[in-house]
Symmetry: C2
């Protein structure tokens, strides 16, 4: 029926199969652009809802800025230019005309824009152009705004969720009166991302600071969280930038402080995207399909009837109605699939593929015993529980599954988090199993580039917290003050 | 402080003032594109949440299609072309290059796309291109999908929320195996829109069918809801289209029916946008600012302390904490504004401008009496209520306000809903007060155009329900089978 490539055959193909066959997303007819299908989108809705709550509880408000940004806004920020001259969608005209005698549309050259508009790759430029109007005094600060929306960065090599030309995301843009407050904000958001990843998505993360050559242009310090996939490669899943006064200087945004003096505003920006869905799927799933932690699963429990005739089904429906009510009252999301077009076997397979954490099935035998059969997607364990125990055991089991999925990921990450002091050993480890390798680095870009060329590993981050400890660069032997984390990455 | 233009001086300017001064939105530096500010966006979030719940309860699922659509997809649907050749954002390149010796960005001509991409003005084309892959059998039907997102239609004359080049909206796209089921879907959605408008937004609506010359191209029947503004002009606030088999024929989407035969799929599409926010603001507000029905108000009750010294404030804070707790438990959204930078008078004015339904104030006298002062934004009435009555009286008052705002709008709409049988009378009525005018029409486009030219009134819809009753066209005297509704419109 559904056949998945095995992980040890082709991890990359397995990932693609998972996304397609669990119906999370697929590529559209437009190169590099995906369609997020209802099941995938419902995961995004849960992510949005939970993150949005955390943002709001920490004082942030949502706002909406224009999709299109005039070219000149980008030209203002020199470093910014380099980043986004790589690839973006450029709007040059606003009208088609119909050719006479044929139905083809061609661009109406009269509709050429005086200035090209760029579909936002990120919104710092238009945000700061606007903040200039909004900020006069210290009374107007801080501004703690966030935007949920879409963005486009032209990509040549795309993978569903992990790298697509259009992605959905949130981008926070905050303005502060002091450097310290802005740094605190950057860290606060990194902690929100970490909590969300670990507690909700069951994804253990490594927190750190990007080395200077990899940070977002226009940023002073880029904090990130990285997660280790099953193949030992790292995925960056969130970034939080301390932007210093870079954007306020470029867009000339000053405020009057309490003493009447003028100062440039301090700022941050931060974001996570639909890439999270890719990480979630890639990190936990197995050769049978998706595995979802209960806290992010759109359906936490599926119930499937097993029956030979209508009389049996009627009886089962009756009991299931009661079970549904009990579990819904406990806040558990449930689907009862009694469609007659599909066999129980087909349904079992289908919901395993979709990673529903718990499957309850009920047939003639279960009715006789006043029990249901309970199946755990994460461990493939089956057991029978009595009807009157459902109200306590199912919520408990969901918590157990959440913890188990996290623990499994954490153990794997720990096993793949290693120290290396010799380059030959380092190369072997990267090649064999990958993982996070803590090693000394001399701090130069040239060393980082050579290591990348020889091993494909890059410096993922300078970890936080990190012990300052003198050592020698694993490559050059030059002095180093602390270890950084190397890994191959997505 | 805040000064608003009066409605009877310049209704249009008053509307703009309301939007700006209550901080719902403002125009950005990009022509025709607005920034939705946090207060405006929080209203949109409430709209989204409530509509989304209604869509989901009626079996719809959310999905996400690409922002960019290849030109050739549009060329397929001849009628569609006419609509969107009017103005859209066309992406032609994907890269800039930096000029040597200067910082200006120019388009890299090598990055020219083989085929232009259009930012979605609406998504039927890419949706039906995709449904072709997804629909084979009657088992795949119905498809009941909805998308929340942005869209662009190039507009020359823009007004905040009412007409902007970019807007946020939801677009539903459904596929059915029978004509009847698709028509039922179209009507079901119209009823959801109506319920939402009347029960949540307190906006009475006229339901009807667009005359053939005004329907969405590619649609068989366009259902709409129209609301009458205070100046007697109508605003179309939602449409639901029965698309027949138009899109399935253009994109060749057939399904195998239960008997093994092949049939074209039937379809609908429907949408409401951020225009709703404009209608909401324009319909209810007064010369002092915004008036919001409690069910759509981001803050339902604001509490303001009145104090002379810190000792008094501490005492007030203590009592307010208790009141907040009581009201929050009742599900009421509350803001306590005890900022010291602003005076009570400034705050009173501010929250009147922002349309907060209830203002509670508490000072020394109120503490002595164990009461609070309660102010209704809709009627400007003030009263004192005892602390122990807050738990019952505030929720009751919110309901009263909701009903009163609706009743007021309904009475005005009724007063402005009139019948006319003589063209001179019709012209006078349209000119004097506007309103919905029920009149006979001969069914020809030429008559409709002449009436529009002479009076600015257009046929808003053929109302539902509508009595079939023979009459004579108000303009031409030719026979007519039913009355239609004329009005000036936004």
């Amino acid at each position: 029926m559904h056949q998945l490539t095995k992980r040890n055959e082709d991890y990359s193909k397995w990932y693609n199969d998972i996304i397609i066959k669990s119906e999370l997303a697929e590529f559209s007819g437009v190169r590099g652009f995906m369609i997020i299908k209802p099941y995938g989108f419902s995961i995004w809705e849960i992510m949005k809802k939970k993150l949005d709550k955390m943002f709001k509880e920490s004082g942030h408000k949502n706002v909406y800025f224009p999709l299109l940004i005039p070219k000149s806004f980008f030209s203002k920020e020199k470093k910014h230019i380099d980043d986004f001259s790589k690839g973006c969608a450029i709007v040059t005209h606003y009208k088609f005309k119909k050719n006479k005698n044929q139905e083809k549309l061609t661009i109406d050259s009269k509709s050429k824009l005086k200035e090209e508009l760029v579909i936002r790759p990120t919104s710092e430029s238009i945000v700061w152009k606007t903040y200039r109007r909004w900020i006069q005094s210290y009374r107007d600060l801080p501004i703690l705004f966030n935007q949920w929306g879409n963005a486009i960065r032209w990509e040549m090599h795309t993978r569903l969720f992990l790298r697509t030309s259009e992605f959905l995301w949130q981008e926070g843009h905050t303005a502060h009166s002091t450097k310290n407050e802005a740094i605190e904000e950057t860290k606060k958001i990194l902690n929100i991302y970490t909590k969300f990843s670990e507690n909700i998505m069951a994804i253990p993360v490594l927190k750190g600071i990007k080395p200077y050559m990899d940070k977002f242009s226009g940023s002073e310090t880029t904090y990130c969280i990285e997660a280790l996939m099953q193949d030992g490669k790292s995925l960056q899943i969130g970034t939080s930038h301390f932007l210093g006064q870079n954007f306020s200087k470029v867009f000339d945004v000053k405020f009057t402080n309490k003493n009447g003096g003028k100062e440039y505003v301090w700022s941050t920006s931060w974001g996570v995207s639909t890439r999270l869905i890719g990480g979630l799927a890639m990190l936990h799933s197995d050769d049978h399909g998706l595995i979802l932690p209960p806290k992010i699963a759109p359906i936490q429990t599926v119930i499937i009837p097993i029956y030979k005739n209508q009389k049996e089904l009627v009886k089962i429906n009756e009991i299931v109605e009661k079970i549904k009510k009990i579990l819904k009252n406990k806040g558990i999301s449930i689907k009862y699939d009694n469609r007659e077009l599909f066999t129980p076997g087909w349904k079992f397979h289908e919901y395993e593929m979709k990673g529903i954490p718990i499957r309850i099935s009920i047939g003639k035998n279960e009715i006789k015993m006043e029990k249901v059969e309970v199946f755990r997607r994460d461990t493939y364990e089956k057991s029978h529980i009595s009807w009157n125990m459902i109200i306590t055991l199912i919520p408990e089991l969901l918590e157990k599954i959440q913890k188990n999925i996290y623990k499994k990921a954490l153990n794997r990450t720990k096993k793949l988090t290693i120290i290396s002091d010799h380059y030959e050993d380092f190369k072997k480890k990267i090649k064999d199993k990958g993982g996070f390798i803590f090693a000394h680095w001399d701090g130069t870009m040239s060393t980082a580039k050579k290591i990348q060329k020889e091993t494909e590993a890059t410096i993922r981050c300078i970890p936080i917290p990190n012990e300052k400890k003198i050592g020698k660069c694993i490559y050059s032997g030059s002095p180093s003050t602390q270890r950084v984390v190397f890994a191959k990455s997505y």
